[in-house]
Amino acid sequence: MICRVLHPGLLATVQDGGRHGHQHEGIPAAGAMDELALRIGNMLVGNDERAAGLEFTLVGPTLRFDEHALIALAGADLGISADGTPLPLWRPVCVPAGMTLSATSAVRGCRGYLAIAGAFDVPVVLGSRSTYVRAALGGIEGRPLRRGDVLAIGAPSELSRRIGAGVSEKRGRGRVAIARWGASSALIPFYTSPATIRLLEGEHARLLTAESRERLWSAEFRVGAQSDRMGYRLEGAGLELSAPTELLSEAVAFGTVQLPPGGNPIVLMADRQSTGGYPRIGEVASIDLPLLAQLKPGDRLRFRPISLDEAQRLYLAREDNVGQARAAIALHHH
């Protein structure tokens, strides 16, 4: 099966669970900005959760599949419909061969995901299909999708076949079939602006002036226009160090909040460099990275402190929920 790109929208890339194991070579991990949305999308169509899907930004694409396709939309609501039938998020959907998927624009959130049974079959580069545009790695020729691109779809798993059979069972041919089930609302984050993002205080927060340290927690930050998959620039509350500091470059993580000399913090996102030399004033709790990934330039956020123990407890609880959803899908399609 193939997927034709009739229009890519604003920025569409192939992304999977990320390019892990190469950061020591200076190679960014990349991968989906909203890891949870892509994982759930994949789960709903019977794929491995780390499989390659499409990530859309603010404006969705126009696509056509040459065969009957089992898909799931997740993440931002980009107003996607199939030949005029609005498609729900977070549910398996069967789209008949030849129908055109088109989009309006972001209704809620910033990044939408499309997972398809069998996943997008682009070449694996250094262990991942994720697109990293700056070094032209992964995806289609390492670049965003363009009008006229043709994406191959892999062979669906046995589970995908069973899910697809269940979804399209009671529908006539040639019509969109929407599953009566989907991801439970407990799994789905509610994307809002202003967002409250839980932050672990970073090693260098102690280098902030007392006033700036207080402002880190009280200020409302605005996501700057220069924000992208590499990082979010946070404006509106300049922070200051008590003294200029020279630090040696060292590893950073998805969600590390750096403070460059200008005073506007940068949150490092999926395409972050593997290492950095600016003071690390915080790290976003992993459970809130999906909320952050769904903020767009102009959106606002506040930080709230969280302890490491609490962040990991909530993370494990979420992983348990994801695991239960996975088990339930497998059980019902056994």
Partner: protein, 234 residues
């Protein structure tokens, strides 16, 4: 080694701090820790990222075994890392490779060579002599795929970055930025003083390993003529 300095780097990574300066002793510790954790991966570990004076270990909290320890995933993971790093002094370091980089200095390949020479009251040949006469160490990779942070630049040619960064620097450009020297693996914007260019590919996703240089390598530069540079690329 019981006095390891471990700290969380967010809720899915841990940082092992091994010093606070760029020096050979700290670097040997970084290599020893990296070698040990590569040989004996700790359960839940995703990848290891060594730097000048630290080693980060990214891990998956849900895959850290419970064992007998009832603490947080971080507490359990950190304990396992400490155990894995015991008797580190006995760790034999993998032998350091020596990599020679042929460089065509000056002219279009190194448009700032004259400026670097002028700033230090040297001739262009003297700058090249100092740059090729030194032995460099790859302390870490970062910033871009295949970019090596090299230690060992002679103080005599340490040169501040350009006031106006270039919007595009060709791949393979050899530059000086402050007390560092390095090679741009990919065409990118950059503010370093460009003194030459190599035709070797610092990064090639289709190669195993994809980077020409690895942490711990010894690097020497060799001045070559433009026609020899073309040959080195084949």
């Amino acid at each position: 080694m019981s006095n390891l300095d471990l700290a969380p780097l967010g809720d899915r990574a841990l940082l092992i701090r091994l010093g606070d300066a760029i020096d050979e002793a700290t670097h040997r510790l970084v290599r020893a820790v990296t070698a040990r954790l590569s040989e004996r991966p700790v359960d839940g570990m995703i990848e290891i990222v060594p730097a000048f004076a630290s080693v980060a270990v990214h891990y998956e909290p849900s895959r850290v075994p419970n064992g007998s320890h009832r603490g947080s995933p971080y507490a359990r993971f950190a304990a396992a890392v400490e155990t894995a790093l015991s008797n580190l002094a006995g760790e034999t370091l993998p032998p350091a490779r020596t990599v020679e980089i042929p460089v065509c200095y000056g002219a279009d390949y190194g448009p700032d060579l004259g400026e670097v020479a002028r700033q230090h009251g040297l001739t262009a040949d003297e700058v090249v002599g100092l740059h090729t006469g030194a032995t460099y160490r790859v302390y870490m990779l970062g910033f871009a795929p295949g970019f090596a942070y090299l230690g060992g630049l002679p103080d005599e040619i340490a040169t501040p970055r350009r006031a106006e960064p270039r919007t595009s620097v060709p791949a393979g450009s050899v530059g000086i930025g402050g007390s560092q020297t390095g090679i741009y693996p990919l065409a990118s914007p950059g503010g370093w003083q460009l003194i030459g260019r190599t035709s070797l590919r610092l990064f090639d996703a289709g190669r195993e390993p994809p980077t020409l240089l690895s942490m711990g390598d010894v690097v020497r530069f060799r001045a070559v003529a433009p026609d020899e540079l073309a040959l080195a690329a084949t």
